[in-house]
């Protein structure tokens, strides 16, 4: 019998590049902002564009986060997510129009109260819609991507048509609440107030979502469910119920995003959900399906890219985002922050 060979385990220290690697996507946002600064060459317009890019990114994030979680949790791809955006916008705008005396008053409190009421109404309606959508449309087609895409697309068509039935076929123009109109000047750059508010709301939502996902028990179950649903099920949690909860929350967030987007554009159409879904898909793909952090970074990148190129070369705004998607998928084929699936 021979002795075991001399064995001295050694922890290899990771090089800086290796330690930086997981955080690379995070650095992309400042890198893009810097590139925008160099390309635009006018600091004031750059600042304006950056703020509106961030605002747009935040709104896209609010819409996309629900979709990416729904996919991560149950492998359900919901092409009808845009329907919640449109419905949310229409409900929210109807409430705002009803509360015209509050939105017209030059008082920030009243304006914000009206905005909050509109958002609550929109989220309640789209949340309920999400519940029904999950029950009627999505539940029978678990496990088949092809059928999911087809059926949710059908759901989107029907929902869009329902908007036409309820609100008529015309687009609705909506003014922002009195105190959110206009702009303020910082360093000579004009920043629209509403965009700053949108950035604020989006950032708070992101932090809140992160806190829920990282700090609470339900968040733990959701994150575990994204990685391995069978195991969570085996532990005795009703994963379907968690999924319905996430689906409803995601739909409500899409409704919120719809109200924010409607006020941003100051015009809503039944088709707006479908239009914004194109950017949402790009965000969800480059973020990595199922990852909230990736979705956040992706949304900011897409929002900034859209605004910078719209300024530099208006015709190429959407093309530039597709180029961004191509570049990122070349770099990381599973998206920037892929969710590790234990399968």
């Amino acid at each position: 019998m021979t002795l075991a060979p001399e064995h001295a385990p050694r922890m290899a220290k990771l090089s800086l590049a290796e330690r930086l690697e997981p955080w690379m996507p995070l650095l992309l946002v400042p890198a893009l902002i810097l590139a925008g600064y160099l390309a635009i060459a006018s600091p004031t317009s750059w600042l304006t564009l950056t703020v509106s890019g961030l605002a747009m990114g935040m709104m896209i994030f609010v819409i996309a986060s629900g979709m990416t979680l729904v996919f991560g949790l149950m492998d359900v791809i919901n092409f009808g997510h845009g329907a919640f955006v449109s419905f949310g916008a229409f409900v929210g705008v109807s409430v705002l129009l009803m509360l015209a005396h509050m939105t017209g008053a030059p008082s920030l409190m009243l304006n914000l109260a009206a905005f909050a009421l509109a958002v609550l109404a929109a989220m309640a309606v789209t949340g309920a819609m999400g519940f029904a959508f999950e029950r009627v449309i999505v539940r029978p087609v678990y496990g088949s991507h092809l059928k999911q895409i087809l059926v949710t697309m059908g759901g989107l068509i029907v929902a869009e048509q329902l908007i036409h039935v309820i609100w008529g076929g015309e687009e609705i123009f909506i003014g922002r609440p009195e105190m959110l109109k206009g702009s303020i000047e910082i360093f000579g750059a004009t920043l629209e107030r509403y965009r700053l508010v949108a950035v604020g709301i989006g950032f708070v939502l992101f932090l809140g979502m992160r806190a829920v996902l990282r700090g609470t028990k339900i968040g733990l179950i959701v994150r575990a469910g994204v990685e391995n649903p069978e195991m969570v099920q085996a532990m005795g949690y009703h994963i379907r119920r968690v999924f319905v909860l996430v689906f409803v929350a995601g739909s409500a967030l899409a409704g919120l995003g719809g109200v924010m987007w409607g006020l941003y554009q100051e015009m809503i159409t039944a088709h707006m959900g479908m239009e914004i879904m194109i950017l949402v898909f790009i965000v969800v793909i480059i973020g990595g399906l199922g990852s909230v952090e990736g979705c956040f970074i992706g949304a900011l990148l897409v929002g900034l890219m859209q605004n910078y190129t719209a300024f530099l070369e208006p015709k190429l705004a959407l093309v530039s985002n597709i180029a961004l998607m191509v570049a990122i998928l070349m770099w990381r084929p599973q998206g920037m922050m892929p969710v590790i699936k234990a399968k």
Partner: protein
């Protein structure tokens, strides 16, 4: 002979066979059976959409890939013809060059998108095609120097294909044959050839492999078929056929515009027809398109009547408004995905 033409893929049902034969006869003799501009327009539209929908079915029904860029390829063919005739002048050579250029561009685009997204993850394909198609639609409507922008382009086709041309002195079988009728037969014959060609493709060993991949991609890969290669090839074939249909459409309509070729509505129409007609069978495209186009043209009138008749009720007239017919179609679509995944053809084959 018939067996050879149909590539051994028989309708398998008397009812379906009779229906297909009726559609074929009606389309073949449309100018004689249904004189009038509107019905000729309808017949040509049915021919072209049969090819377009069948090429989409090749992708969706046979290969199990959802694409939202099919109208983009359709538009490439149409714009190819339009731009070529604008640059090269009126003539058959311009039509041929435009068609070939459109088909080539469609093939290159389809190949790139397929390689890029199918390699990564099959479900990315649906999302990426949606994004690319809308980017192309935006570009087409903005690059007005090349494409005519939102206004679109008028196409000048050779004189032999226009209503002004009269090949015969007197009426033939009671019809004054003019260039428009010749143009219709150009459309009809090219669509028939393309359709039979696709029937050949899906019933070849290649088509069988596609179906195997649709059923179980993992297993097909394990047996030794390169799944990515087959999926990419299906995408390219379907894109080229769609662009050819677009070229025919442009020659027939003598006009292209973003709304008539690239619109989201047309994409949704194609999707609805494939699913309602029957996925995974070429005959579904024929039956579905015929039913859809006829319904589009005539059912809407009926809905308008019903809407007026119920005008005393709340909300019902809005639901029955002819503009809302897409909603009913959407509901029918969802129901057919759940309950009749084989569509109308599957139903017809069930009743022997």
């Amino acid at each position: 002979m018939v067996r050879l033409l149909l590539s051994g893929d028989r309708p398998q049902s008397v009812l379906l066979g009779a229906l297909l034969l009726t559609i074929l006869v009606c389309l073949a003799f449309a100018p004689f059976l249904f004189p009038g501009t509107r019905s000729l327009e309808t017949a040509a539209r049915i021919c072209i959409f049969i090819v377009l929908v069948a090429s989409y079915d090749l992708l969706l029904g046979y290969a199990g890939i959802v694409s939202f860029a099919h109208t983009m390829f359709f538009g490439m063919g149409a714009y190819g013809v339009a731009i070529a005739t604008q640059r090269m002048g009126t003539g058959y050579d311009a039509l041929a060059v435009g068609t070939a250029a459109g088909a080539g561009l469609a093939a290159v685009f389809a190949f790139l998108i397929a390689l890029f997204s199918l390699r990564v993850r099959a479900i990315f394909f649906a999302m990426i095609t949606l994004a690319v198609a809308s980017a192309v639609a935006v570009l087409v409507s903005q690059l007005s120097a090349i494409t005519g922008g939102e206004d679109g382009m008028n196409i000048r086709i050779p004189r032999e294909l226009t209503p002004a041309f009269r090949p015969f002195d007197g009426p033939v079988l009671g019809l004054n044959v003019n260039g428009r009728v010749l143009n219709y037969y150009l459309v009809f014959v090219s669509c028939l050839v393309l359709f039979l060609l696709m029937l050949r493709i899906v019933n070849s060993p290649f088509g069988r492999v596609l179906q195997a991949i649709r059923e179980n991609a993992f297993r097909a890969e394990a047996i030794g078929y390169r799944v990515v290669f087959y999926r990419a090839a299906a995408t390219v074939i379907s894109a080229v056929v769609a662009s050819l249909a677009g070229a025919i459409f442009a020659i027939w309509l003598r006009y292209v515009g973003p709304a008539t070729t690239l619109g989201v509505e047309i994409m949704l129409d194609i999707l609805l027809i494939v699913v309602i007609g029957g996925m995974g069978t070429m005959y579904g495209a024929v039956v579905g398109t015929a039913a859809f186009v006829l319904a589009q043209n005539y059912l809407r009138d009926w809905m308008g009547g019903a809407s007026e008749a119920t005008s005393f009720l709340p909300l019902v007239p809005d639901l029955l408004n002819p503009d809302r017919w897409l909603m009913w179609l959407g509901i029918l679509f969802i129901l057919s995905v759940y309950f009749f995944p084989t569509g109308m053809v599957g139903r017809l084959r069930g009743v022997r």
